[in-house]
């Protein structure tokens, strides 16, 4: 009897009760993170600059505004045709940033993938990408706007930074998952680096790359809306900014919001379908 109870190690509390929870490091960290979140949130609310805010009347007013926006959407400062054109501009900015971003990202991701490149190049690319990601897109666009002149060039170049940074991360992870055996086999036959990339790496990851690119396109659409509003890059975002900031025309804001919502939902449905088709299938294999 004695021997058995000695050999099995049971953690007990001070009062002799058996401890049910193991209290691993992960659990401790989770608990402290939650406490930290709580403390920081409470601090945040005490630190806010409330200005001239009258919270009750503001809420009532917002509800009224939302009612006008969503129940009486209308166009007053521009026509349907122009609305389509502006949506087209925003979509166009998103397409350009995504396509150019994807092309650049493929090359950078090949350099960043640890199985295809050497350690130094991979590290350098990763650090550059992390830096590009840390600066908010709107700052890139505004900085390019002074340097390159305002216009679609500044908007696309500014948006490129984030697209590239996001896609390099996704692409290089996909490249790293390519079967090491295939690469080794090709290397043994004396294939060059470029040959390996073209005939083994790209074909086997192509569907992944495509789905990631489309996911990014979805994000880039809302970024393009934001750039229109905050950096004057044109498109539907700029019209939204004018309608709410200059004309105070809530019905028009409502119309624009509906237009954006519609496109965003279509894009989301498409990307979920793509994701289910490619990601689910490849997960099963």
């Amino acid at each position: 009897m004695e021997a058995i109870s000695m050999s099995t190690y049971i953690k007990r509390k001070k009062d002799g009760r058996i401890q049910i929870k193991s209290g691993s490091k992960a659990e401790r960290v989770i608990r402290w993170t939650i406490v930290l979140f709580f403390v920081l949130t409470v601090m945040a609310f005490t630190l806010f600059d409330y200005g001239q805010l009258k919270i009750m009347s503001a809420i009532v007013e917002t509800v009224n505004n939302l009612k006008i926006m969503f129940l009486q959407p209308a166009l007053s400062h521009f026509s349907w045709g122009e609305a389509f054109y502006q949506v087209g501009v925003t979509l166009g900015l998103a397409v350009l940033a995504t396509v150019l971003g994807a092309v650049i990202a493929i090359f950078l991701a090949l350099m960043a993938a640890t199985n295809l490149s050497n350690e130094w190049i991979s590290k350098t690319v990763r650090i550059l990408v992390a830096f590009g990601r840390a600066v908010p897109t709107v700052l890139w666009v505004l900085i390019f706007a002074i340097a390159a002149g305002l216009g679609s060039e500044a908007a696309v170049l500014g948006m490129l930074f984030h697209s590239v940074a996001y896609l390099v991360k996704a692409f290089s992870e996909a490249f790293e998952e390519v079967d090491a055996g295939i690469i080794e086999a090709l290397r043994a036959t004396g294939s060059s680096w470029w040959h390996i990339v073209r005939h083994a790496v790209l074909p086997s990851t192509f569907t992944y790359l495509l789905s990631w690119t489309f996911l990014r396109f979805e994000i880039n659409f809302s970024v393009a809306v934001a750039m229109g509003a905050a950096a004057g890059a044109g498109g539907i975002g700029f019209e939204l900014f004018m309608a709410s900031g200059f004309y105070f025309d809530l019905s028009e804001v409502g119309f624009i919001t509906y237009a954006i919502l519609m496109i965003a939902i279509v894009l989301e449905l498409l990307s979920t379908r793509l994701k289910n088709r490619f990601f689910a299938a490849s997960a099963v294999e």
């Binding site: 505004n65 054109y85 501009v89 397409v95 340097a147 216009g151 060039e153 170049l157």
Partner: protein, 261 residues
Amino acid sequence: MNEQIMRKRSWSATIFLIIIIVITYLSAYITNFNFFQGMATVPAAIGWIVSNLFITQESLEQLPAILTQLTETIFMSIAATTTAAVVSIFLGLMGSKTTKVNGFLSGLARLIASASRNIPVVAWALILLLSFGQNSVTGYLALFVGTVGFLTRAFIESIDEASQSSVEALTATGATYFQIVSKAVVPQSLPQMISWILFMIETNIRSATLVGILTGTGIGYIFDLYYKTMDYNTVALITCSIVIAVIIIELMSNSIRKVIL
């Protein structure tokens, strides 16, 4: 793989490539984007950045003011994310397949999530600005609404993923809904959820800059101010401080994530 399939594949790849090129060309036409001009401006832009965006002694004097605004922005994004997370847990529980109460509530939760996620944060900021005016609460609410949408979707996925078998097991023992949720669902998906919250805090600090430019609060406001008065040295300092803050927060959340996941 025989020759015919190979040929068919390369054929469809070519068509795909052509479609992409046509779409890109159309976009360039609509947006008036000139690829070569765009590429040509890059060296000039980099030259401009190097010669104008550097931090001087004078701009360093603004540092205390910048840091106050930066902390306000960081606190704003943290508060928006955590309060949104609390709401999202409930919406996520309602929307998830394994823990939904009934079909109506589940559909409602998904609808709320979809609408608030797909209307860009910018639109929320502009709408709220009209009645809330220029203060932190406007920025906070705009971030809050966008975050609820994103986190609800993420939570639904992590609840679905984590808890199928354990929910079934607990249901078989006759546990109540509340017991199932608090003993099985939440503990199992908590690490995933915290990881998403951390990710969202990172994202929100960047969006907070954008929202700040529109609503006149925090670091975005102060950036806009110096940008418009063409005080580019201070602009450089502000950009640097944002970059450092974002990288520090990213490193912190990565180290938390490494332990819990």
